[in-house]
């Protein structure tokens, strides 16, 4: 009857994703065309944001968070994913990633509150 179990199961995923976004932002600020496994990982994840065949509930939750909370359209999210994979990011992309990082961090705080039995 409480949210704890559900959100405790999803928390790790959102925390890891939030870390990934911040790591990529730092890497891109240093060098826009820098090759890194983290940038590729994030690129792939953003590209699969609307994958209907995903069976991993945690990834579905992350995809839902990215789509509903980031303020970025699905097309924009996928474009961003492609850009990261092609190592052709621009300063504008960093701004978009920062927007994503802030929204994901807010969602992480919200999920953590729910898993501690508090509503936000």
């Amino acid at each position: 009857m409480n949210d704890v179990s559900l959100y405790a199961g999803l928390y790790e995923e959102i925390r890891e994703f939030a870390d990934l976004v911040d790591e990529v932002i730092i890497a891109l600020k240093d060098d826009l065309s820098k090759k890194s496994t983290k940038t590729e990982k994030l690129g792939r994840q953003l590209l699969s944001v609307d994958s209907a065949q995903n069976e991993d509930i945690s990834e579905l939750f992350i995809n839902q968070t990215i789509q509903k909370k980031s303020g970025l359209s699905k097309t924009k999210i996928k474009q961003l994913g492609t850009t990261l994979l092609e190592k052709s990011a621009t300063l504008e992309n960093i701004v978009e990633l920062e927007k994503l990082a802030i929204s994901v961090e807010q969602e992480r705080v919200s999920v953590m509150s729910r898993m501690r039995g508090r509503e936000i």
Partner: protein, 380 residues
């Protein structure tokens, strides 16, 4: 802010070290994995905190927003470990020991595919589980009573839904994925069909709210069904008991903000179908009668939105898909002829409750004593 961060990070590192020192050295075997996991994660968090202090990239001005967010997450991790994991380790007691043996017994009976969670009786929020720590929390006095214990089965199902990349539990997650997609397709179709019509925007936007809910609702439905398919009627009685004791609105549907749990009546309906699937038709009828009495007593009636939100076809689909997933896990499915020890005890408890509610307490006191004796003797 830079000075603040240096001080705050140093203090957090000291807190992490302090928490590791608080892990008791003489824990019983059930708690060893939890202790190791807490220790490893605290060491990892402290290592990451040191990187925030010393790595050159974190000293650069433009990276301070990222550094601060990373610090927030490490603090969150340590708060979680302190308030949940370390607290459970520091306050482990004899009730925990019995509950741990009970959960291990349940795991063996139902052929649960994962390791048993550690149990602590420190819950402040009914039953819940932390899959990342494999820690099940139950209320303090729960080891002295039987009627709510069926909810352990619901909690055991949560890690089946969220544990990643484990081939043993993939069938459960595949079935869950099928349900989520079906539900979201249903919602989108109805939303698209209703959009051009005239009417208040609220009634159109409600579908968007429900679309966001179905991911979480599907998980909760599957956890309930894991309870029904592995324990049988005792689980539905525990659901009715919880709703009757705590109150709430059985036909509630969210209008503006998503929620995590489906309406209690929808949960009940899916459980009734599952019970019938298992051959417990008489028990399903008895439960439906008591549920109806409860709805009448609380003057609860469904709204038109409720029926749109939880159509019979979708409810039935969920019950069928969950059974496929649970059978494919290799779990023991309950039937009227199942005679495993805990299974029989939990179902007998509810039979006795209904047969003689006035004297149930006496029966339960004896049953709990027998259960504790049985668990102690079987695990020595």
């Amino acid at each position: 802010m830079t000075s603040y961060l240096i001080g705050a990070i140093n203090q957090q590192i000291s807190r992490g070290e302090g928490l590791i020192k608080r892990i008791p050295p003489n824990l019983s075997r059930e708690f060893h994995l939890l202790a190791q996991s807490c220790q490893d994660r605290l060491l990892g968090a402290n290592e990451n905190l040191r990187q925030l202090l010393t790595e050159p990239r974190f000293q650069i001005e433009r990276n301070q927003p990222e550094r601060l967010r990373m610090f927030h997450r490490l603090v969150g991790e340590m708060v979680h470990l302190e308030t949940v994991g370390i607290a459970a380790l520091e306050r482990a007691n004899s009730s925990d020991e019995i509950l741990n043996k009970l959960v291990e017994k349940i795991r063996q009976e139902i052929k649960y595919p994962l390791l048993p969670p550690v149990v602590t009786s420190l819950s402040q929020e009914y039953f819940h589980i932390f899959p990342d720590l494999n820690l099940l929390c139950v209320p303090l006095a729960e080891s002295d009573y039987l009627l709510h214990l069926p909810d352990i089965y619901h909690e055991l199902a949560h890690p089946l839904a969220t544990t990643k990349r484990d081939p043993r539990i993939r069938p459960f997650q595949v079935s869950l994925g099928v349900v989520i997609r079906t539900a979201i397709e249903y919602v989108n179709e109805r939303h698209n069909n209703e959009r051009p019509k005239r009417g208040p925007n609220d009634l159109k936007d409600i579908w968007l709210v429900w679309e966001k809910c179905w991911l979480q609702w599907s998980v909760e439905f599957f956890c309930d069904l894991f309870g029904i398919y592995t324990l049988g009627p005792a689980y539905i009685w525990a659901h009715i008991n919880l709703c009757a004791k705590y109150g709430g609105r059985p036909f509630d549907v969210p209008h503006y903000l998503p929620n995590s749990h489906p309406a209690d009546d929808a949960r009940f309906r899916v459980m009734v179908i599952a019970l019938e699937n298992l051959g417990f038709s008489q028990e399903a009828k008895s439960a439906a009668k008591e549920w109806k009495n409860l709805l009448k007593l609380t003057s609860s009636t469904p709204t038109p939105e409720y029926h749109k939100c939880y159509p019979d076809s979708l409810i039935s689909h969920i019950a069928t898909q969950a059974k496929l997933g649970i059978v494919a896990l290799g779990c023991r499915i309950a039937s009227p002829s199942t005679n495993d020890f805990v299974h029989t005890l939990f179902n007998e408890a509810w039979n006795n409750f209904w047969k003689d509610p006035c004297n149930y307490n006496d029966w339960e006191t004896n049953a709990i004593s027998s259960l504790k004796a049985h668990l102690s003797s079987n695990t020595k």
